[in-house]
Structure formats: C-alpha cells, structure tokens
Symmetry: C2
Subunit: 341 residues, 2 copies
Amino acid sequence: MFFLERKNHRTFERTFVCFGAGLIAVTLGDPAGVGPEITALAWRALRHAGPEFLLIGDPEFAARFGPVHAVSEPCQARFSEALPVLPLPLAAQPRPGVPDPANAPAIIESIARAVRMAQDGAASAVVTNPIAKSVLTRAGFPHPGHTEFLAALTGRAGHEIMMLAVPELRVVPVTVHLSLRQALARLDTEAILRTARTTHAALRRDFAIAAPRLAVAGLNPHAGEDGTMGDEEITVIGPAIASLRREGIDVAGPLPPDTMFTREARASYDAAICHYHDQALIPLKTLDMWNGVNITLGLPIVRTSPDHGTAFGIAGRGRANPASLIAALRMASDIARNRAR
Amino acid sequence: MFFLERKNHRTFERTFVCFGAGLIAVTLGDPAGVGPEITALAWRALRHAGPEFLLIGDPEFAARFGPVHAVSEPCQARFSEALPVLPLPLAAQPRPGVPDPANAPAIIESIARAVRMAQDGAASAVVTNPIAKSVLTRAGFPHPGHTEFLAALTGRAGHEIMMLAVPELRVVPVTVHLSLRQALARLDTEAILRTARTTHAALRRDFAIAAPRLAVAGLNPHAGEDGTMGDEEITVIGPAIASLRREGIDVAGPLPPDTMFTREARASYDAAICHYHDQALIPLKTLDMWNGVNITLGLPIVRTSPDHGTAFGIAGRGRANPASLIAALRMASDIARNRAR
C-alpha cells in the first residue's frame, strides 16, 4: 500500500489518497462455516509478509477470531496490526456449524462488493470464502454456484472456466458439477476447445508462461486404445486437439488418463484439460490435499478461492486448516502482479 | 528350496527329490517386449536374497540378457548362479519391438505350464510377463486377456478379480477394460458385492490382515451429494454396502472419489473398491508409477504380474525398468507364504 499525503494549499486540509490497488478483497463466505477462522489464521500467517487483504464482513463477529480494524475504505488498512474489515452488517448472529438463511443477503452482498472493488481497481483481486449453495438458494439466489455468480456480475456468464492448482499440478475440468453420466453426455468438441483456449490465454497472462504446454486427457482407459475401448478420443477429443494445433497451441493428447499425472508426465505440461470432475480432482487431491486453489479463468477480474467447502462439521472448533486460503491469497496476488506487468 | 538326498539301499543309486515348492514360475510373455530384459534384471536384483524363480522360455534367447541355466525340473535350479529356464522352444527368433504371431503358441504354452506347475505344487506362484493381446488374438487366442485365460485354466472363469497394489495403496476396480460409457452401463450391485467379498477374503488369506477394512468409492462428484449429482450412490452402490455390512464386513462408503486417496484417507482402509478403470488407476499411478503389482484374486493359485505392458517401443534398448516385476515377484512370494501359514 502506498499513501500520498496531499496538502490542499488553499484549505490546508490534509486528505489521504489511496494509491495502488494492493489489497485483495476477501468475501465473508458463510459465516457459520470455517471462513471466519481461516481468514483470521491467514491474516496471522501473512500479516508481516503479505499479501495484504481486507475482509468484507461483520467486524464484531470477525473480532471473535482475532484482532480486527473496521475501515471504511482500503486506504485505512494497517494490515500488520489487525485484519482490516469493511463493515457489512449481518442479519443474525452466526452460530458456527449452523447456517442461517437470514444471513444470505449479506453473504451475497459481500461477493458483489468485492467484485465492484476489483472492477474499480480498489482491490487487486477477489478471494472468496466458502459458501453453501443450498443456504443461498433458499434465499432466492438464482445462480448454480459461486463461480457462475461472479461470471454474471462481471458480464461474462458462460465464459467462466475453473482451474485447480497445487504446486505440483494444474487441472482444468471441462465439466464440473455434473453426474458422471451427464458429464459423458455433455462431452463436446466445442467445450473442450473453449476450455483449452481460455486456459492457454490464462497461462500466458496470469501465470506468465510465455509458451504454455497443454495436455488433454483421453476419456477412456488407455485413451481408448485406438477405438477398442470407446471412441470419444477419435470422434470428440481428437478433433479438438487438431483444431488447437492449427491455432498454434502446444497440446499433447489424448493422453491415457492413468499415466498422465505421474511426476515424469507432469513435467511435460503446464495444465491438464480433463473431461469430468474426478478425472481432474482425484490426481490433484491425491497429490496435495491441503494446498489446492480454485482459480476462475475467463473473467476480467482476478478471482481465486480455497478449494474446500464451508466444512460446517468442524466450524468454530479451532480445527480448520487455513493452508488453502493462504495459497489462494498468494496466487491471487501473483496473478494480479502478472496481469499488471 | 530343500533337497533330500535319498540313498536307495538296494541299488546304492543316489536320487534327489525336490521338496518345497519354493520357486515362482515366471512366464515368457511376449519375447519381443521388455519381458526378457526385466526378467534378467530381476534375477540380477534377487539372485542372492530371493525370492527365487524360474523362467519358462527359450534358454538360448534368454541368454542374450544374462547368465541362464536350462533345467528340466525346478530342483535343478541354482538360482544364485544363473537364471533357471525351463526350456520352451520358440518358433521364430524374437526381434525386440517387433512381435511375431509365430511365437503366440509358445507364449500361450508358457502360461499354461506355469499354471500347471502352480496347481501341482511344483511352483509356489505364477508371475506373468506382459503379453500383447492383439498378437495372441491373431493366433486364435479366444480370451479377452491374460487374467481371463488364467481363470479359465484354473476352472474359475468369471471369478477373477484384479487388484493393483503399490506400497501406499491397494485398489480393486469392479470393471476393468471397458469404455467409460460401458463401465457406467455395467454398474451393478451384485458385481460390487462379488468384488468386495473376494477382496475381503483375499486380504485375510493372501495379505494376512485379520480384520480387513474396505472403502467403496462413490461414482459421481462428491459421491453424488445426496442424489443431487447422480443417484447411483443411492440406487446401486449404497445397497451393496448395506449388504456387506450385514455380512459383517467393515466397509466405508460411498466415499467422494476425489478425497478418498489422500494420505489421511488411505490410512483408514486396506483396499479401495472402485467402479471404473481410471478411478482406480489414476490415484495408484499418480502415487507410484513404477512399483505397481497386478494381483489376480479369486483363483486357487497365486498369480501376480507387473502392471505395465510389453512396451515394444523401448524393448531391447536397455531402458526397461524391472521395478514392477521385482515387486510382483516379492508380492507373489509373500502371498504364497501367507497362504501356507
């Protein structure tokens, strides 16, 4: 954060103007989940080295978990001293583990404000705490999920792509929260192309990889073995790969899904394009359960989140692990820096 | 190996009788693949410490890769000195990397002889080198694969179950070499039950685990989230788990597939029952590419194999890695010992 002391020579009034959209806006998430705890723990871990962030939430409730400093604008933050909180009143006092639909409007408003701040340059990025979709749906939230809401807010509905990253692997599922049967039914050359193109652009812009290398998974065992165990590699996936190559994108595949996540194989690509949720998530979580970051590609703003849910079952018991939120904050900061270059 | 020197008091003739079925019978596999090299390398690695084995193959060809000793019965083996080979003539001189259907009869006969030796007690176990099914199919081999042939030879067709094991994980896929679409179509409570029961029995008998703990995967993301992302957990998998519990089997599930292979989760079970090839193989190979062992459960004989194929592309170039075959030999020896207790 940089501050410029500006003396108004006519009035001799001193005002502070906030320069540099250094702070990350962190959303409330469901206050009955682990969000408040992990936010406080992340502040403790990052207070000196950064990246700096502020929470859009209830300062009084947040103060249960650590020192907070209510601020009316990012400039007032003194991050090393206390967690800066932009006040957003809650309708009901949260009880850990017991989500309350009365707080749904605040949960939603926190997301909307964070997005506006990122759009206005008042925040460098948005990091979202976990929400429980069912709680919001009951309050009339019309979006299938967090990510779709962010896409709608930024005018990019339908363009959002989810990447999940741990230090050892980046995966991008073409379909996400569908049953396996539906994911198979939706397998589509155009969707693979769209996902791969967005991923390629994001690897360049957000991850500063000059010549990104993609790997596209097969769908079937051994990638179908020349059509003897399923033909989607030939009819759907292969044509997408051919198109990408014609566009000059460095892409390998369709790769046998079981051997493409070994250490040797991972060294050969920057991101793996996968066809269904668990094809992407099994290797990622098997490699690293705790440091996963969810990154939304295809938006004008930078948005990351921890890759876990509200964890109502352990909320408020001092058992929540902030590693994924910390990783999400660091990655948001890195991406914002890469975009600014 | 134990030998008993028996003096015939009438003739003063000395004969040696072979006791103890200590040796493992290793099959030829496709001699144009990596089998000959990895067998020689495994002999070199195990010659002093064991487990001891013999190859059923062509001594002259095997001699290209290391010292061999042609024997007419297991008793004659001097394992520490040379690789014992039970002669089986090849129709054509093998060329590494170029499979020759003329050798299909020998490849098949090697498997049949190894099985007979295990059935007769002349071998403690069978370890099979990789074959290329397409080569055998052209020669009239009617079985869908190696494992099915072994099941047929031992009168257990349809009872074979494939387990794959690395030091950190054991997985048992209910369906194996089917397209993902077919695997979904074949999802069946009875098949899950049969697989889980055979696995449970094998963990007790072959792995000496007194009270085995099974984990059964869900099929869909997050195990379907109470039916909101697919209902197979409720309609097909859940009933299998309920039946197993009624039989007194310790079984967890249906578990979210993406989080069931983390270190913490793996510590809670002895084997994971999976519904399709890659659900089992992605985590296994991601964790450990080199030490995988394929174990056939449900047969009267002990059979293991390396979990890789013929690797024609690197055969004969000194690049093949014997780790998986060595692990297969050690596991076969352990299982035979556990069964004998």
